[in-house]
């Protein structure tokens, strides 16, 4: 299609640019704020160019933490990282295996099993949070990584994504494998897994970010400050009762919190997009 409408094109780019400015400005502001000392931010006249406190702010946040939270951001990031990785990897493992069972094995109530998994899609964590908390507490998993990770691993999105992908793989591939002497496990390892790489990458990106951004669940089950995730950490830095909020440290922490998800998206973007749109097998 040949399109030559300079005005329309100009308007499109203008709209796009405006949108970007609206989205990017707060982020930019946070990055700038992380380079000043507390006084400059509090007096309301913070310049929009970088200040000279960056080194000081970042090293203090990472290794010492805020005055009130008193927990180094480094530790919180490690907690968040363990939680996000645990959720992403655990979810991929469970959902690829359950999708494999649902698609390739004939067992009684196979359809029922699939529909039960499917129905849980409609139940977000928040709805089942009380029973989940009760179970985790009874198992003595409060303030543990297992407690943080396990309840969030169970969900249907991944199973569904893999199921849809497996359905597009021609049956003849399974039959050829059978004739080639590959059993159920070999077929999974040698054929299905390599073909699922892009889908796995897509799911990893989504679930890593989902895990990293968890707020309600870690807030409920972690009481020790050494088990805090970074999202909780930011919250605690901002709400203070009897002292000034250390905005420069809060902003520094926010910027640090943004980094891992951004890196994951940047490095896995190509695989990610391919995994979501790829149709040619």
């Amino acid at each position: 299609m040949v399109e030559n409408r300079p005005f329309t094109q100009f308007m499109a780019y203008l709209t796009l640019a405006l949108g970007i400015v609206i989205v990017v400005f707060p982020v930019y502001l946070a990055i700038m704020a992380s380079t000043f000392d507390a006084a400059t931010i509090i007096n309301g006249n913070m310049p929009l160019t970088p200040g000279d406190q960056a080194g000081e702010n970042y090293s203090r946040a990472l290794f010492y933490g805020g005055v009130h939270a008193r927990e180094p951001v480094g530790g919180m990031m490690l907690n968040s990282m363990i939680m996000a990785l645990g959720i992403a990897i655990g979810k991929i493992l469970i959902s690829i295996l359950s999708a494999y069972a649902v698609v390739y094995f004939k067992f009684p109530f196979r359809k029922t099993a699939f529909w039960i998994i499917f129905i849980t899609l409609m139940l977000p964590v928040e709805v089942r949070i009380y029973p989940t908390y009760k179970i985790v507490a009874d198992l003595g998993l409060l303030d543990t990584y297992t407690g943080l990770i396990m309840p969030l691993i169970a969900s249907a999105t991944g199973t569904l994504l893999f199921r849809q992908f497996f359905m597009t793989i021609p049956d003849e591939l399974l039959e050829a494998s059978k004739i080639d002497g590959a059993g159920a496990f070999r077929f999974f390892k040698d054929t299905l897994l390599p073909l699922s790489m892009t889908t796995i990458a897509a799911l990893f990106v989504i679930q890593f970010i989902y895990g990293w951004n968890q707020y309600l669940w870690p807030l409920l089950i972690t009481t020790k400050s050494s088990m805090q995730t970074i999202v909780i950490g930011i919250k605690k830095m901002i709400t203070t009762t009897d002292a000034l909020t250390e905005w420069q440290i809060a902003m520094t922490t926010a910027v640090l919190a943004m980094l891992p998800p951004v890196l994951v998206v940047i490095f896995m973007q190509r695989l990610f997009v391919k995994g979501l749109v790829e149709t040619e097998k």
């Binding site: 003849e172 050829a176 494998s177 004739i179 002497g181 390599p194």
Partner: protein
């Protein structure tokens, strides 16, 4: 090497759908057997039961002397070529061919030797490192065959392997498959709906319809002496003309009052009873007028280059005549067709069976 024996093999799907209705068939060691029939006739199901990809509801399948009903596909010592090739997309051509051997624990140098040899036979040596998606249809087909060859199986199974190729390549690959089978001498079972493939490839042609075998024989047997009306109209292109007729007496039938002679006719048929008269478009001589002839009204002519097809009617029934181009003027409206009694096939209108000499 081994032959394949089927003994009243049945396939019944849930819901009591009988896809294969008791098929018995013996395939000799080293022969090329083609199962041909329209879609849904059960030929693929039968092949898949031999491969072990479908369970056998009833009956027995033997490869060599071994009953394989309960044997896993991998242990049946067969290799299969699929219609869509079913190559592993993420593996190189070499790995595709080596995979089955690797799973069997064949030593590395033996695998390499066999793959190299198969690649040489199939002329695919230059792209052993490529992935299937970088290959053309014909090349993928060769890789699929290579995967079958390296295993050195007792039986090759082909499930419509040429259907995804264009016409020219199909002819070429057809010849290659035949040559390869001759060279390797492996028992082969080949499923197709294309009667040209069936005729050219087979030592033993099995025509199937509705889950049953209609006829088994050499291609020329099946062509010259079809046992049922179905086989008569299925094998041969354009298909055989079937005309409603009447028995006149021994060796004589009539079509709309025109009497023709028949060489192969069962004794003792009641004169005056209804009968179906089959004539191949290429077997009637246009223009000649003899003692045994039919008149035909021509509707239109199809040009095929070397030959022409005259479409029209013989005493009200559709009729097609094939003639060399130029033999008959294209604007002919009326034809007299000389019929050689040796080329007339008779069928029972009720049972559709051939009414030839017993």
């Amino acid at each position: 090497m081994a032959g394949v024996t089927l003994d009243t093999v049945r396939k019944i799907y849930t819901g009591n759908v009988e896809a294969v209705k008791g098929v018995s068939l013996g395939i000799e060691d080293g022969s090329f057997c083609v199962l041909v029939g329209p879609s849904g006739c059960g030929k693929s199901t039968l092949l898949r039961m031999i491969a072990g990809l479908e369970t056998i509801s009833d009956g027995e399948v033997k490869i060599g002397d071994r009953v394989v009903n309960q044997v896993e596909p991998a242990d049946r010592d067969i290799a299969m070529v699929f219609q869509n090739y079913a190559l592993y997309p993420h593996m190189s051509v070499y790995d595709n061919m080596a995979y089955g051997l690797k799973n069997r624990g064949t030593p590395k140098d033996e695998i390499e030797k066999r793959v190299k040899e198969a690649a040489r036979i199939l002329a695919i040596e230059s792209f052993l490192t490529r992935k299937p998606r970088q290959l053309s249809g014909g090349q993928r087909q060769r890789v699929a065959m290579g995967r079958a060859i390296v295993r050195k199986p007792q039986v090759f199974l082909f499930d419509e392997p040429l259907s995804n190729l264009d016409a020219k390549l199909r002819v070429q690959m057809r010849v290659e498959i035949k040559r390869l089978q001759r060279a390797l001498g492996v028992t082969s079972i080949y499923v197709t709906h294309d009667q040209v493939e069936a005729m050219t490839l087979s030592d033993k042609l099995v025509v199937m319809s509705g889950g049953q075998i209609e006829q088994v024989g050499t291609p020329s047997d099946v062509y010259r002496r079809p046992e049922t009306r179905f086989v008569a109209t299925f094998i041969g292109s354009p298909p055989m003309n079937i005309l409603p007729g009447k028995v006149e007496g021994p060796g004589r039938v009539s079509v709309g009052g025109q009497v023709i002679g028949v060489a192969d006719m069962r004794d003792g048929l009641t004169p005056g009873s209804a009968i179906e008269v089959g004539l191949r478009p290429e077997d009637v001589q246009a223009g000649g007028a003899g003692s045994s002839s039919l008149s035909m009204d021509v509707d239109f002519v199809e040009e095929l280059g070397a030959t022409q097809l005259f479409h029209g009617k013989v005493s009200g029934a559709e009729f097609v005549v094939q003639a060399s181009t130029g033999q008959i003027p294209a604007d002919t409206r009326k034809l007299t067709l000389a019929v050689d009694p040796a080329n007339v096939h008779l069928f029972d209108p009720q049972t559709t069976k051939r009414l030839g000499k017993v």
